[in-house]
């Protein structure tokens, strides 16, 4: 059975989504267990795949039995072998936590919600696993469309924010499609490995250059890289916490993965770093992204929105790391995909718990929260320390590699930006801690200060939160193993 893991990984969630949608009409209580089982199978097969990749190297799975480039094939190498378990496990943990939120916020629509949730995870897993450039576009659209649906279900402003996201997302996806079209017109192929094989004689072609620029702009739009980030904060802030807990950790990270995949596999580092040689400019863009993300986060008086700006800054870390063009930088970027997915999940789960209990996430609502929800806030501290980059949490190690890469590439601006944003993160999170710890709890209505009563979130929300929080430390402790056994094989030969 294990040779069918690549298919199962995507097919089981897809079929389960269909079953969930039928179950939504028959018996709503069945939806949640089916969703958990589906994502459980997906997580199981993704971990199985990772171990197979570690044993055997690159796995090729031919869909429909047609060999590439005629048909579509899956390629699982070290890069997506690492990203796949992260996507499926993050989605599974957030799913478990979302049960109570769905029951509280839209109990009637549990069926369509879980259908869309599982479909979105299908799309994300498919994006990561596929080896066909056009197939990636189709899956990207599945992930985006379901994402729009999930994000629009929230506060009053959510539909408008999501419509703006839809405009931007559609432009991004269309640009990607157009870039693939340009590659198709000059090579005649759609398979990533095949395109990379056919490209070298065409490196000087204007069409390939344009294809690269268009693809990159499209992907940057989707991942909210700084000047193109305008849709992200509102869309994530006003959504319900079950959806933002899925989309905030995964969507941007998966798009960073797509960017790295395009650089490494499709256009090859030789073209990107030697022929094109614009990486310095992109790193400077990343510097601006990090600084602006941090500064804009500083301005916010609202926990969830502050976190969304931190997401924008983190995207800058990863883009910058990938474009440094050396071994340490790329290692840092790949490692940061894993770490940032977990860190963002951790803090967004905390926000979900807070919203579930307090029904608000402005700074004013956080007063006395350490007394009221000690366990939630405990996990928040771990997540915050990881985002700041305090050892032994995992955030420290990826930042370490990024800084190392910056120094090797003589990109001191990037290094300074990383340190600056760490400092800003310290300010941001300690401000939250201060409000939560020292200011007494007060009701929305009355001003009378009464001793806070402990009112912790239910266990189904706390358990996933603690799994993530502990994994933050574990991933940090085992960073060396991850780098030695997986990440170092991601980096192509000839990289500095």
């Amino acid at each position: 059975m294990s040779e069918q893991y690549p298919a199962l990984l995507v097919i089981v969630p897809l079929l389960s989504a269909l079953v969930i949608s039928v179950a939504g009409w028959v018996n709503k209580r069945l939806c949640f267990p089916i969703a958990v089982a589906a994502l459980g199978v997906a997580a199981w097969s993704s971990v199985g795949l990772l171990f197979r990749v570690l044993d055997e190297g690159v796995i090729v799975y031919k869909l429909g039995g047609w060999s590439p480039p005629m048909g579509i094939a899956y390629y699982i190498d070290y890069l997506n072998g690492l990203v796949l378990p992260v996507v499926s496990i993050v989605a599974l943990l957030n799913l478990i936590s979302s049960k109570k939120i769905v029951e509280q916020q839209f109990p009637d629509k549990a069926g369509p919600f879980y259908t869309l949730y599982v479909l979105m995870v299908t799309g994300l897993l498919g994006i990561v696993v596929t080896g066909d450039a056009f197939n990636l576009y189709v899956l990207l659209e599945i992930a985006s469309l379901t994402g729009y649906g999930l994000l629009a279900m929230g506060e009053e402003r959510a539909p408008l924010a999501t419509l703006n996201y839809l405009y931007m997302g559609t432009i991004g996806a269309c640009f990607y499609l157009l870039g693939i079209g340009y590659l198709y017109i000059v090579t005649g192929s759609l398979n990533m490995v095949d395109i990379a094989r056919l490209l070298p004689p065409l490196y000087q072609s204007k069409a390939v250059l344009a294809a690269f620029i268009i693809c990159m702009v499209g992907v940057w739009l989707k991942m909210a890289f700084f000047p193109l980030h305008a849709w992200l904060p509102n869309a994530y802030t006003y959504a319900n916490s079950a959806s933002s807990g899925l989309i905030a950790p995964l969507m941007t990270k998966v798009m960073v993965y797509v960017m790295i995949r395009l650089i490494l596999t499709v256009f090859t580092p030789k073209f990107v770093f030697n022929t094109l040689a614009v990486h310095d400019a992109v790193v400077w863009l990343a510097v601006i992204a990090i600084v602006m993300g941090a500064v804009l986060a500083l301005k916010e008086r609202n926990l969830k929105k502050m976190l969304t700006y931190i997401v924008v800054a983190e995207v800058g870390y990863m883009v910058g790391g990938a474009w440094l063009g050396n071994r340490a930088g790329l290692t840092g970027a790949v490692l940061h995909i894993v770490n940032d997915a977990l860190m963002t999940l951790c803090v967004f789960l905390v926000v979900g718990n807070i919203v579930y209990k307090i029904k608000g996430y402005a700074f004013g609502d956080l007063k006395g929260l350490f007394a009221k929800m000690p366990f939630t806030m405990g996990a928040f501290v771990i997540g915050a320390l990881s985002i700041i980059g305090v050892p032994p949490t995992c955030g420290f190690f990826s930042k370490w590699y990024l800084i190392l890469g910056a120094i090797q590439a003589h990109q001191y601006g990037f290094m300074v930006a990383l340190l600056f944003s760490s400092l800003i993160n310290v300010v941001l999170f300690f401000r939250v801690f201060e409000i939560g710890f020292y200011e007494p709890f007060s009701d929305h209505e009355g001003h009378e200060h009464h001793p806070a009563v402990m009112a912790e979130a239910p266990l189904t929300m706390l358990v996933p939160l603690y799994v993530v929080a502990i994994s933050l430390i574990l991933v940090g402790l085992y960073t060396g193993d991850i780098v030695n056994h997986i990440v170092q094989f991601v980096i192509p030969k000839g990289f500095m």
Partner: protein
């Protein structure tokens, strides 16, 4: 905003025009796109899948995996529209005055809140703003709809030999039902084809596609490798591919049919399932 837009447009347009300099000329038979993969498809399709319509064969077999997700895209659009717009039954069924019409006499009855008439053939529930459907439109559509549906089934079934297939046929089929909803009213259309039925049909359509693929998986071949169905269908592997394509096209047709109606119902009534926005 207008100036920023203009600048972006000019820059992007300049980039695209710059890139077009290296493109092959229009309809150039020697362009890479026409010489790399397409000769293989054109020359081998008949031998390998026994489907004369190459587009259908590439769509549902060589790149069948894309098409499965394409169907899923439609399905998810339907679910999203339902998820966002449908007003939940609890909010909708709050005490309101109900209107019924006695079909034979055309008398309208107004019932105070809480009362209802059990479903019967004599009475139909109507909206407060109900007006009788126009006779000309009703008759015109009644004549046309059967032919439209017949044509749609032809398009689905003849996808192998002529332009057509599941998507096109499904859309025409869906359009015929939407035409019915326009010519009468939404309540009548929903009574003929209930929301639950549509919702389940959407999922069933996509499941036929994915299920065919999964069946191949169970028969010890790769996902969507229809030649695995040869043993089940008692034909040779190449004909099995042709039959497999027909199966998935039917699945696509059902999914598209149901989703089109679902999206129309939700959008045209803003999720209230009554007439008008």
């Amino acid at each position: 905003m207008k100036i920023i837009g203009l600048i972006i447009v000019v820059v992007t347009g300049a980039l695209l025009i710059y890139a077009a300099a290296d493109f092959p000329a229009w309809s150039d038979p020697a362009s890479p796109a026409s010489t790399y993969l397409s000769p293989y498809f054109i020359e081998k399709t008949m031998e390998e899948t026994s489907v004369p319509n190459i587009v259908t064969a590439v769509l549902a077999d060589y790149r069948g995996f894309d098409t499965m997700f394409e169907t899923t895209v439609i399905f998810s659009a339907g679910v999203v529209c339902f998820f966002l717009l449908r007003i939940s039954r609890r909010e909708e069924e709050e005490p309101e005055t109900r209107y019924y019409r006695h079909v034979l006499t055309g008398v309208t009855i107004q019932l105070k809140e809480g009362y209802k008439i059990p479903p019967s053939a004599d009475f139909e529930r109507i909206d407060a703003v109900w007006t009788p459907p126009d006779l000309i439109i009703k008759t015109g559509c009644r004549i046309l709809i059967p032919f439209i549906q017949l044509f749609a089934l032809y398009v689905i079934a003849h996808g192998h030999h002529s332009p057509g297939g599941g998507f096109q046929g499904g859309v025409i089929l869906g359009a015929s039902v939407i035409l019915f909803a326009i010519s009468h009213d939404l309540r009548t259309a929903v009574r003929r084809m209930s929301e639950k039925l549509i919702g389940i049909l959407c999922a069933v359509g996509v499941s036929i596609y994915a299920g065919t693929g999964a069946l191949c998986l169970l028969l010890k071949q790769n996902f969507l490798d229809y030649s695995a169905l040869a043993g089940v269908l008692h034909v040779d592997p190449i004909t099995a591919r042709s039959h497999g394509i027909l199966m998935v096209e039917i699945g696509v047709g059902i999914a598209v049919l149901a989703t089109m109606i679902w999206i129309y119902n939700n959008i045209s009534s803003a999720g209230r399932y009554r007439q008008g926005l």
